[in-house]
């Protein structure tokens, strides 16, 4: 585990619950993890294990009642540590023996606390690239909008002017290896292939210059060759930008390639934390669930090995 004082993201004992017709269900149960600057932390786990929820909590984007109910999330941004959940207990109250949350008050607080962190502190790319780009804006406009939003936080004299911003937007499209960046700049998402959309999305997200990028199954909807391209691209850009990444996937091979450390989740709990080196090591002791994941991916043989 990395040191608390140097990590960009530090999540401790995060609890997320939802009210369902069958009562309250805890979908994330005291999950802890941390990410150091420039590090890639992989989150591995089956569907419904709470991977998306744990990372969305970091962005304050959990929608649904009651949502985040406990724990600590620290985000370090420009040398300053932001405790996102430090005020949470003030919004919790007991009612008929159950803990409830003041939803509106919390939402307001969350938006205020996150306002300076969204984009520059942390941002995300999602599974479905087509649905995560605005269908009515050209790709160029969207990259440009990220840059504009980022520049809006800077003091006036260091801001890039409009022209420099459009040049940077075009550069981003080149950096994500678009074949014809000029044409893509003026294209709408429906005119692009899935892989191009995901690369555009990477450009939009990284143009915010985040300290942490959350990549939530960015390759799931893509075919094998495009997947490899996207994974390589992400790795290169993350290294260049010195940006930390939380990488969520079902695909253990991608994980081994990209991640420095991996946490394995199931039913809302962290089962195991391993470094990628250890995971590659066939001889070492593994949690039985991690073993089944490795076996399913053909990474290790059955019981006879």
């Amino acid at each position: 585990m990395s040191d608390h004082t140097t990590s960009v993201v530090d999540v401790r004992d995060l609890v997320i619950e939802f009210d369902t017709p069958r009562g309250r269900s805890r979908v994330v149960d005291e999950v802890s993890f941390s990410v150091s600057p420039g590090e890639v932390l992989g989150i591995l786990g089956e569907s419904g294990s709470g991977k998306t929820m744990s990372t969305q909590a970091l962005l304050g984007l959990i929608d649904g009642y009651p949502g985040v109910m406990g724990g600590q999330i620290d985000l370090t941004f420009q040398g300053e540590r932001h405790s996102l959940l430090s005020e949470l207990p003030h919004f919790l109250f007991e009612k008929r023996g159950q803990l409830e949350k003041q939803e509106r008050g919390w939402r307001k607080h969350r938006f205020k606390a996150m306002a300076s962190l969204w984009g520059r502190g942390a941002t995300a790319i999602f599974q479905n690239p087509r649905r995560s780009l605005d269908p009515l804006m050209t790709v160029g406009q969207q990259v440009l909008e990220s840059i504009t939003a980022r520049e809006a936080h800077k003091p006036d004299d260091t801001k890039l002017n409009k022209e420099a911003q459009s040049i940077e937007a075009l550069e981003w499209l080149e950096r994500v290896k678009m074949v014809n960046p000029k044409r893509v700049f003026g294209s709408y998402p429906h005119e692009l292939s899935g892989g191009m959309c995901q690369r555009a999305m990477i450009a939009v997200a990284l143009a915010c210059k985040p300290s942490v990028l959350i990549a939530d199954e960015p390759t799931t909807g893509l075919d094998a060759t495009v997947r490899a391209q996207v994974v390589h691209l992400l790795q290169d850009l993350i290294r260049d930008e010195r940006c930390a990444m939380l990488y969520i996937t079902h695909d253990i091979r991608e994980m081994l390639y990209l991640a420095d450390r991996v946490i394995v989740m199931r039913h809302g709990k962290v089962l195991e934390r391993v470094s990628t080196e250890d995971l590659k090591d066939r001889s070492s002791e593994r949690h039985p669930y991690t073993r089944t994941l490795l076996e399913a991916a053909g990474m290790i043989g059955g019981d006879n090995e």
């Binding site: 962005l59 984007l61 929608d63 939803e103 509106r104 938006f111 962190l117 969204w118 984009g119 520059r120 942390a122 941002t123 995300a124 790319i125 999602f126 479905n128 649905r131 995560s132 780009l133 605005d134 269908p135 009515l136 804006m137 909008e145 990220s146 939003a149 980022r150 809006a152 936080h153 429906h190 999305m201 939009v204 997200a205 915010c208």
Partner: protein
């Protein structure tokens, strides 16, 4: 320079790609708008136009649409009658779209019990029968076209707000809106630009056109009923029909009646066409 060229090409492309009904209706709408816009430039004195020596003349070269029972030119009155609904209708439509869109966005954004209660009140108002309400108001207050426009605007705000609220709520769960938030775009910008302007503009334009045609319809209906709406001798399409329904000649009432039907039909088809085009673009 080149931008103008591009938009010209775009317009031609859109024109070729659209259906015949959209083409026809947009021609009619364009004509009505032209009439509405040139109207303030034309001076017309309804009293001076009376000439009993030329009563009920059939359409001819000097009177393209003939004359009515008092010898007034039907064509000129038809043109001047556009004034009765044009600006009031536009203003009513514009403000209904603006206020309805704004309210809907606020409800959708706030959510929770505040949003839900505003939405409930709006939906309640929306269940009032509009026509009855209008006639009721007109019997209490001296009816004028401005009053009609104002009431129509108010009556449509709830339904517009409801559509926009639903849209905002459903878009709030869309990945790309979440992505916009995560990328640090200002929430106000997301609501006003990405949601209201980009996503709802076609819908709002359609509602604007609908309110506009509703004002025309109400003005006609109230004028026809007699004591309401634009009063003789000033022309409106409604009172032209009402005035000459007993006349021996057909054109003094048939022409404005056809004008009313064609215009309303064209407006509705045009609005639908815009909304449909927008959906096609999104797919």
């Amino acid at each position: 320079m080149s931008k103008i060229k591009v938009s010209k090409i775009k317009v031609i492309k859109i024109w070729r790609a659209s259906s015949l009904s959209f083409q026809l209706s947009s021609l009619v709408v364009f004509a009505v708008f032209l009439c509405g816009l040139v109207n303030p430039l034309i001076s017309y004195d309804p009293v001076l136009d009376v000439d009993l020596s030329r009563r009920d003349l059939a359409p001819s070269l000097s009177f393209v649409m003939g004359t009515d029972g008092q010898g007034r030119s039907v064509g000129l009155r038809l043109l001047k009658g556009v004034e009765a609904f044009f600006f009031p209708g536009l203003i009513a439509g514009f403000f209904a779209a603006l206020i309805g869109g704004g309210l809907g966005a606020i409800c959708g954004y706030l959510g929770g019990w505040v949003g839900r209660s505003i939405a409930a009140i709006l939906e309640l108002i929306d269940t009032l029968p509009r026509m009855v309400f209008l006639v009721l108001i007109c019997t209490i207050y001296p009816p004028s076209i401005l009053l009609i426009a104002m009431i129509s605007c108010l009556l449509f705000i709830p339904s517009i707000a409801t559509v926009v609220r639903r849209k905002v709520e459903s878009l709030g769960a869309e990945d790309y809106i979440l992505a916009h938030v995560a990328h640090g775009f200002h929430p106000l910008k997301i609501i006003s630009y990405h949601i209201l302007w980009l996503q709802c503009r076609a819908l709002l334009t359609r509602q604007l056109i609908f309110v506009f045609s509703y004002v025309l319809f109400i003005e006609t209906a109230l004028s026809y009923l007699g004591d309401y709406g634009v009063q003789e001798p000033y022309p409106s399409w409604g009172n032209m029909v009402a005035q000459s329904r007993i006349s021996v000649a057909a054109w003094p009432w048939a022409i404005p009646a056809v004008a009313i039907i064609v215009t309303i039909a064209a407006l509705l088809a045009f609005g639908d066409g815009i909304a449909r085009r927008d959906e096609e673009v999104k797919r």
